[in-house]
Symmetry: D2
Subunit: 337 residues, 4 copies
Amino acid sequence: MTVHELRPAADEYSYVFGGTAPRLGIAPGDIVEFSTEDCFNGRVTSESDLPSAVCDFDQLNPVTGPIAVDGAEPGDLLAVHFIDIRPARSHAISSTVPHFGALTSTHETATLQEPLDERVWFTELDLERWVARYRARTSDYELEMPLDPMHGVVGVAPASNEVRLVVVPAAHGGNMDSPEVRVGTTVYLPVNVAGAMLSIGDGHARQGEGEAIGTGLECAMNSVVAVDLVKGGAPAWPRYENDDYLMTTGSARPLEDCYRISQKELVNWTRDLTGLDALDALQLVSQLGLAPAANVCDPNYTMVAKLPKWAVRNAEAYGGVHRRLRTAAEEYRAARG
Amino acid sequence: MTVHELRPAADEYSYVFGGTAPRLGIAPGDIVEFSTEDCFNGRVTSESDLPSAVCDFDQLNPVTGPIAVDGAEPGDLLAVHFIDIRPARSHAISSTVPHFGALTSTHETATLQEPLDERVWFTELDLERWVARYRARTSDYELEMPLDPMHGVVGVAPASNEVRLVVVPAAHGGNMDSPEVRVGTTVYLPVNVAGAMLSIGDGHARQGEGEAIGTGLECAMNSVVAVDLVKGGAPAWPRYENDDYLMTTGSARPLEDCYRISQKELVNWTRDLTGLDALDALQLVSQLGLAPAANVCDPNYTMVAKLPKWAVRNAEAYGGVHRRLRTAAEEYRAARG
Amino acid sequence: MTVHELRPAADEYSYVFGGTAPRLGIAPGDIVEFSTEDCFNGRVTSESDLPSAVCDFDQLNPVTGPIAVDGAEPGDLLAVHFIDIRPARSHAISSTVPHFGALTSTHETATLQEPLDERVWFTELDLERWVARYRARTSDYELEMPLDPMHGVVGVAPASNEVRLVVVPAAHGGNMDSPEVRVGTTVYLPVNVAGAMLSIGDGHARQGEGEAIGTGLECAMNSVVAVDLVKGGAPAWPRYENDDYLMTTGSARPLEDCYRISQKELVNWTRDLTGLDALDALQLVSQLGLAPAANVCDPNYTMVAKLPKWAVRNAEAYGGVHRRLRTAAEEYRAARG
Amino acid sequence: MTVHELRPAADEYSYVFGGTAPRLGIAPGDIVEFSTEDCFNGRVTSESDLPSAVCDFDQLNPVTGPIAVDGAEPGDLLAVHFIDIRPARSHAISSTVPHFGALTSTHETATLQEPLDERVWFTELDLERWVARYRARTSDYELEMPLDPMHGVVGVAPASNEVRLVVVPAAHGGNMDSPEVRVGTTVYLPVNVAGAMLSIGDGHARQGEGEAIGTGLECAMNSVVAVDLVKGGAPAWPRYENDDYLMTTGSARPLEDCYRISQKELVNWTRDLTGLDALDALQLVSQLGLAPAANVCDPNYTMVAKLPKWAVRNAEAYGGVHRRLRTAAEEYRAARG
């Protein structure tokens, strides 16, 4: 088991997917321990730090990477299994952001009104008890919320030499902002360039489905992934797998296109794993599938389609790569004590 | 406890919401035992009965009702608690429907292609073991699926003298096709006309989120509801409550507007139950809320927004009407043995 | 030439399409002189009359009718040719309307912001010089705008016993708000019920494409139409024809579905008039067609697809009914002096 | 008057906006004569050449450029006036493209159907008579269509170091596919990087509004532009101006967001040119504006908002740069004879 470490200095983060030289090279099967900065680049440190005042909008959503994977070629599938995602500070930041979010005017859903007020919430994290403490800004209402850490951003270099801002989710992954990207999940990404060029960031201590306000409980993370490669297995859109579910994603606008993409992908995956034809697979997915929103605030929205694995009689996807990475994760944890 | 029975003959179903004389009158607090026909009006009885051949498209989606509720006036809230939803036959029917469904051309998402082929699945229901047996049409793949019965349609007469086809979900309820409308859920509807005029139908033995294919496991049902009234409490859009969650709905197009409506409704409900201001409520909902699709196939799409009740410190909505109806349901079950 | 008159008293307007007894019966070929009230029901008479204060929201958008047409049966086409549309007062009213319009939050595109301010513009009409005088509310900017009168609403009773508010545009016509519905245009509508039940209203002294603010230059009108019937010719969606263009419409959400519907309709119409197959017709329409927005503010949006008649080598639609109604219009004008 | 020439060899085209070294440097006020290849890269030469067979999908939509403009800095406005657009061959090619176009399934509006058949139309251009000859593929229907040459693609390097495929229209311009980009139009683009990096391509001998089929009458062009710079004048989205109209654009999804963006931009431009406040400008635009679709097939859709210049009392935008470029065009033509 080869374990790498990648802990960028302040000037070593990336802000785009694509067109960037690798900061680490690994082999399939390797493990990477890494740190990520929060989406505000660490500049919001109290409730009086408004993002529009303290942040540089060309340096939002820093990602750690890219990581080049030996032997990864266009058409391959990159499997990224999340072994650990742990808040690096004892607080998280959330905020409204002018012209961003599902319940305000945006640059695309353009209106003549002023956007919602900018407000910051500083949320203490109790890593012992694994809870975040919500404190209202305009009353004394408080509430403990269980932590459920995730990475909003995971992706690779896009196809066709494109370079995309980290904030954009698309076929190469990116800012999907799905709470499903938690410990125990394997993320499958299509490889578009030699080396794949994996980057990860945008940790949330937790986040609701859709991320209506535009931010989760944003925090720097110390995380660990195991990475593997399936030659020739590239999916059209990112997929996830955990012990219970097969999951597909679609990132587009309008939101029904996210639903269409993710459902069609799940129908195709079901068909491939069961030998059903497309309509029989559609019937199965339609009666057994779940369809949560991931984000309804980013430049593309994202939906997830989920099917319990018993629906495919536990047929193993991609030659059992999730199972193998699960085992590697257990070995890593055992070795680390 | 007053218990009514409403079991329509074949010619006693309704096909619209609004403009229809009541078929039953009840008082707040009463219980109604009723039967519903399936969405095909019972005409599809085998896999060779194509809906387009055997159904009359003006008589799809029959509903049982309307039921007039004494004292219900515009501006009131009608609470409908589902005590029982039980398949009335030992089979359910599902099908593709030409120009209907999320993954085919429709009359609105109009293309020049032929729509997907029409295909019917006849699914046996084992009510003892509470499972449905999926059988592929083009292979020998079979699978047991747990039953999770629901009513796709529940609604009242619309506002402003409109009359809407049952297939349409909107602010008056209707064909929301949410799997959340199961036993144990209380549905809250705005009263738009004297008597409210409640109708229910479109039972599904189970259905995935989004109903991609356009139909669930459609079956006739024998169901029981307890109905109550909250004077002056009309919500702008239908809401649901069960023992664990507060839920709001939005039915519109495009799908992001369903998300916006349901999230704004959940923010407003949270604000009302906690005293938080709108932004503090938005922050709470954004970090703790769930956002599943209900339908992405009907004339309006529907999304649901869910908040665990502990997030509002278990504040009781509408004076505890859900809790009272839960108790009434238990008394009814005890009395029925 | 039979000429009817229909000038409703204040309590004789309708506010819905469908479910209403006719107020006039005519025969195919007849002419109807009629008056319409403005969309505010005449209640906004100065710039200090805010619609939200002075209007009854169940009595907006009054229409004149319905008019029953002898012999009209489901499946027929109703042809309505506009001979005259003349403002009945020397002013028109326009306004923002809270939660209505393309550039503000609405009930469906729901946000947490306050909607745009409500403001009324009282616009003098000079019927001699055929201009409207724009006067800014917050400066001394003034401008003469040419009149181009149109009816925002023209439609028939919907299919399947539905009753729809006048404000809704759909397959039965209704509030399409297209500037193309001006003098010289023939509107083709599908007949859904015996008698068709034609209603017309919502006159605008002029209106831009899309009606971004949510209102045109709203004014009461004195108008004249010639009405005819084409047995068995019902289009799926309303169509228009003038001396130069064939036009189709689509009313739905999102706006691309309006485009899809109207383009598919225009492809089909072109195919029917030329004998081209669907792809050859698509090619012709794609290179020669125009595609203006009609409304992007109503419960359904509307787009229009236009093809110059020379593209179909001037093939006559529906047996030349537009030409015949044009001739009848000239005869009517000649007779009236 | 400095006149440059830019006629790329086959391997000198670009396929992206951004991240590319300039192929020509010019000064503000200069004129550029240039050639462009068609969107198929010249590989479709007969009706039996299907694009999916003969094209390399990473080398579609070649553009000529980028052209670096001396002194152009982020925040400036680049003005590109089209002096000439002339087909370089005596034919144009149009086609359906699998999973592309408004009336077929696409990668985003994903369905389980097969896409529309692929078909190519080879259209002769008569440059003397300035007409294209439409010939149906499945009948002997023929038709002369007037030429109306335009460039589907005009844009600059995107902001924030993004690199975008040429096929994408967005805030940096790109594949807007607007028929308004014809001779006599000045296109205004925001400068995002030093030198602006202007590229132009995708000539169409003519194209209908919306480009429903996904292609215009695609042809190589010999074109001429005059380029100028307005320091500090960058618009948020591309704008156009011709002798009669001010025009704004919005490129996004869904299509109503294109409408919203373009209308808001036109309201803002009107406000800036007249001193009206936002609501008074909205009223003017709503009654006088036009709103044609540009494309409803590309990765982002595009709409255009148009206001006649008399509505702003012929106030000159950007210090009269359009007028000056118009004059330069006349001088160029006079000099060329």
